[in-house]
Symmetry: C2
Subunit: 678 residues, 2 copies
């Protein structure tokens, strides 16, 4: 009980000192939302029971833990591949900390204590923490440079490691109240701020995240230096003169690192997509804390660019395998889509912060699309297999080396699995937010929460079967009679908007206005920034019912999006669907979905941990047994949620279906090679 | 009559001095073979009547002639794009000279005299001839370098221009007996040999041809320096130390210029395919004249590599658009096949010389395949439209920027049209060769010739309708009773060999031995190096009849040739066939030719200047009018000779036909863009 009380105290307010500024809207901390649903809760349990232990075990077995032990002993030889391998431990600790708040687990907590002691022992006396140098400073990793920080602008990832350490330390501190990891982080942050920052070394960190991490430490400690250094890291971008600005190679012109222009002059999502998402998140944090309008305008411009020209329908970003990066405008190929899982996670971070800045539901529309589709697809239903890249299509006839066709347990560069470990248990933290007497409901899942409005708690209980069912019930029980606004997000997809841009369009007739009833009575409501604003003197047990339209809809792409020309995607609610070979006679790339196709839904509780499948009858192209003829015949077609693909073996998978055949290419030999390891 | 006598004298022996060594086998000069046939003679007439005048006109209109006029005046500004634009004039003079020997034409001869005077006026007093520098030496072309020869190793083409000058001068001298152009060439060659050669400047010419050209001047003058310098140019290759030998970029490692290794250490056809073919031709010449065995071994190895790994079924070479160069082994894609017309011409030059070295018909098999297919396709039936690249397929659904879909009148880099101008009238020169009392018959076309055997003329009259008909008649009329060997080439394709390697195979049952009758009596004969050896005391009017099998045959590719996997090409006699959209319901890429297909032949005298077409009924894939289904139906399919494609408008064209459908790719939008200009 004592611990639970502590958790509540610590998380009720994220800051333990008086801040000048922060986001006007504050998220309701994940620890205050108790899931009771059938979609996320089982996944969080699997994360706790399977993914986190598997992740720690893999950190142990691959030598990542040994690196810390050797660094503590100042002897040995760095035994993994990348200098940022340290972060897999930090990220798993972060995820485990989130998870501890949901599922108390003494054994796990004790294991983490041991691990944190090892981390502390690996830290140098002045706070430096980077095992690949400390183990044997005379022979640092090739990416690290001979001197500390020497290669931070591009390859060393010293500040990247620090950033993940800070994120983990903050989560561990909030979840357990222990300062063991926090003190390690603060000691490192003090060193970082003594080296970098205003009037000191001025460098753009090669892989951003230290900015967000420093902000978290600033919120905990109030130490202004942390915020100033975070701001300085952002302001350092775009000032390195060693790039060839006219070169189109993003590694040569600096755009790979978002370092080609000062941040406040940027207007396009460029370069490595994870780095980009982390930068834009850090910029939002620093802008919120400093009131810097130019920074907000920059990420507003970049967001518009991303969502209107560089956003896959599955919520993925970062189209280009080479450099794991954003492509050009409208460069969203299916056959070679990279869509790194970490980039979808970064996109969730960024869009959440955009919402906190602007209070607009369109950012949550983007967040929800990434979360339920291109991010969740990164995780196998078994909780221990992962996609690094998230394909938009798999064809027997063509395999790009960058295209993973099945999930792997772990990767040499294993950023994505440990990023999922930490993201999943934080999902409840994205559901609610508050600004004074405005209470925002962003995501839908059966759950209970308590939010302090007018200094008194308001209980909100969600009852629904989202994302399968559009019937949402909210039971609102305030302890105060003062009126407040309940702002219910009406998803863009329920208002005929695929994404907040003209990149994709729903086909067919428009939906009507979403019906809302309070205590059985239909209510008229206005929509402000995507939210149904329900203002009233709420009474104990008021029941709000919302009916989101769950019919199947087809999506077409902007004509500038060449890869999807003449094709449709199929959606239902927040979910993007796909066809997998296993449900469709062994093929998926041979299915046409003409405009005349009619779709049925079917609840399949036993399938893929419970899904609604979509069924239709559509023309399917088939090759005769003697292989000298092809023909189209009307065949039953089954579509499953995209996030659930590749859980039943390898085979073709399609998200975008041809509506018509303009032409066909006859393929005389299949290319079935695949690469699933990074 | 006087002129004709002169021609005979000049061409009866190519050398007017006593040579030590040369090819053991000597080609019977083109001037001694009088075509009477329906295939080549009309083409040579069109070349004379249309192509040559059009070519001179274009040299005039594009400013190529003006460049010489400005060089003569030493004032103005080089007004075309490339420093090698001078060679289009040389090459047209060369072609016109060959043609004059066939079609006396005083007007043309007079025009050439005028032009040659302009060339002479543009020559600097010491012999230097390169208009782009001479016009304004202070402002040379960017490719030329500030000093003479400075950039000869890569960009300047100074020696390339010289090489074409020498080739033109030799042809003009042989054809007209005039020394006007020859003297210009000799003056330039003397300068070249004073700058380059043993003990002097040692450089590998960036675009080979000067080697062949110097050899021709050596044969005319006996001046040893010319041969020595040619040899030195060859030996200079592979010794430049400015290349990055480990770099895979052919421009960085020198292989683009065949300069990555010493010639005698080379064993693979690499780099720019025209340069390569000209080099290997020059090496053959120098090896024949010097007896250098190592050189012969090198081009033997390179030839084996080319014919077994880098030779298109249409006789084209140089697969890769970027660099107009040979690809890797088995890199013979259809969709992006470059197959420059000049490279096919260079391949004819080289293979003719390989035959002269080795007396083996397999080189003529390669020559014939290039000549009748991938070379001849470069020329439109109108005689004034040209392909620079020669596609292996044209699809509505896909167009590579390098793929020409229709012929153009002229190109900015117009090497191919003027190369065809000079190649065509030289075709009679590839028909016969002789070594003592061995008389080789290599190509088949109705014609008359007189060959000196045992110091007495032997008349050979060919009567046939080749390449349409396999019935060949040779009337042999010697003036001496001494026996001699008539070596009749039995083409590889008539002996179940597509090319002299395992790169392609004929499908189906083997053909029987080709029947030969003399004066109506079947003769038994042995085949030596691909020739039926007929030894007898020939009597006046002996009639030899040969029956080459002209059934339609399908060809499959070596399984290592990925682009053709599961496909067949169709051939008849020496001709490769293709399907064009215009004959096949508007499409060609939708035709399957399964193993069960049966082929008929049909003579079409009015079509495409007279061709035999191939007809079959085969599965054709078609898209329904509502574009939501595809189906295969048995449809009549018509194939035409590949060389004749693209003479009736643009559309799909296919050489390699799928036999079976492994899979299909549904294409939702056509890509109909094309580029037909270089």
């Amino acid at each position: 009980m004592k611990k639970f009380f502590l958790l509540v105290c610590l998380t009720a307010s994220t800051a333990i000192f008086a801040q000048q500024k922060d986001y006007g809207i504050q998220a309701v901390n994940f620890t205050r939302v108790k899931l009771t649903d059938q979609f996320w809760l089982p996944r969080l349990k699997t994360n706790h029971a399977v993914t986190i232990p598997a992740s720690f075990e893999r950190c142990q077995n691959t030598g990542r833990v040994k690196n810390f032990e050797m660094a503590a002993a100042r002897s040995g030889s760095f035994c993994t591949k990348f200098p940022f391998d340290d972060t897999d431990i930090y990220k798993t600790i972060e995820g485990a900390s989130f998870s501890l708040a949901l599922f108390p687990d003494k054994k796990l907590e004790a294991y983490m204590d041991t691990l944190i002691r090892k981390v502390g022992a690996a830290q140098e006396p002045d706070g430096y923490l980077y095992t690949s140098r400390t183990i044997d400073p005379a022979h640092p990793h090739a990416w690290s440079g001979k001197e500390r920080w020497e290669k931070e602008r591009d390859m060393s990832h010293e500040l990247y490691n620090s950033g993940h350490l800070y994120e983990a330390a903050a989560a561990h501190y909030y979840a357990t109240g222990k300062k063991s990891l926090l003190n390690i982080a603060l000691k490192n942050a003090d060193l970082v701020c003594s080296v970098f920052g205003p009037g000191k070394r001025h460098v753009a960190p090669g892989h951003e995240i230290v900015e967000m991490g420093l902000v978290k430490l600033y919120r905990i400690t109030g130490k202004k230096e942390y915020l100033e250094t975070a701001k300085d890291f952002i302001e350092a971008r775009g000032h390195y003169d060693g790039y060839d600005t006219k070169n189109k190679d993003p590694f040569r012109n600096g755009s790979y690192w978002q370092d080609n222009k000062p941040v406040t002059g940027q207007d396009e999502a460029v370069g490595h997509a994870v780095r980009a998402g982390y930068l834009y998140s850090g910029v939002a944090d620093v802008a919120a804390l400093t009131g810097d309008r130019e920074m907000v305008q920059a990420i507003d411009r970049i967001w518009e660019n991303m969502v209107s020209k560089k956003f896959y329908v599955n919520g993925g970003v970062g189209a280009v395998p080479g450099g794991e990066r954003f492509g050009d405008n409208y460069e969203l190929p299916n056959a070679t889509a990279y869509n790194e899982t970490c980039a979808a996670i970064a996109n969730v971070f960024w869009n959440h912060r955009m919402f906190l800045l602007h209070g607009d539901a369109r950012y949550i529309d983007v967040l929800e699309r990434s979360l339920y589709n291109g991010l969740l697809s990164g995780l196998g239903l078994d909780g221990k297999s992962f996609f690094y890249s998230n394909a938009m299509e798999v064809k027997n006839s063509y395999t790009h080396p960058a295209l993973e066709r099945s999930r792997a347990g772990w990767f040499e560069c294993s950023c994505c699995p440990t990023n999922l470990v930490r993201l999943l248990p934080s999902v409840p933290g994205y559901m609610y937010a508050q600004e004074g007497d405005n209470v925002y409901v962003n995501l839908f899942a059966s759950s209970t929460t308590e939010i302090i409005v007018h200094n008194k708690p308001v209980s909100i209980v969600q009852q629904n079967n989202y994302p399968w069912d559009g019937a949402l019930t909210f039971v609102v029980s305030p302890q105060s009679a003062d009126p407040f606004n309940l702002l219910l997000r009406i998803p863009g997809w329920a208002q005929d908007q695929v994404v907040p841009s003209d990149l994709y369009q729903f086909a067919g007739a428009a939906s009507g206005k979403v019906a809302i009833r309070i205590n059985g009575q239909p209510v008229d409501y206005t929509i402000q920034k995507g939210y149904a604003v329900l203002n009233r003197k709420w009474k104990n047990g008021d029941v709000v019912k919302v009916d989101l339209p769950m019919e199947v809809r087809t999506v077409t792409a902007n004509e500038k999006l060449a890869a999807d020309a003449g094709k449709v995607a199929v959606e239902r609610g927040p979910l993007v669907y796909c066809a997998e070979a296993i449900d469709n006679g062994g093929r998926a790339a041979n299915i046409l979905l003409p405009a005349s196709a009619r779709y049925n839904q079917e609840v399949k509780p036993e399938m893929l941990n419970g899904v609604v499948v979509i069924r239709t009858v559509a023309p399917v192209v088939q090759v005769s047994s003697d292989k000298t003829s092809v023909a189209t015949s009307a065949r039953p077609v089954t579509l499953i949620p995209y996030y659930a693909w590749a859980n039943r073996g390898e085979g073709e998978m399609t998200v975008w279906f041809p509506q018509q055949v303009q032409d066909i290419d006859i393929i005389t030999r299949s290319n079935n090679t695949s690469t699933s390891q990074k």
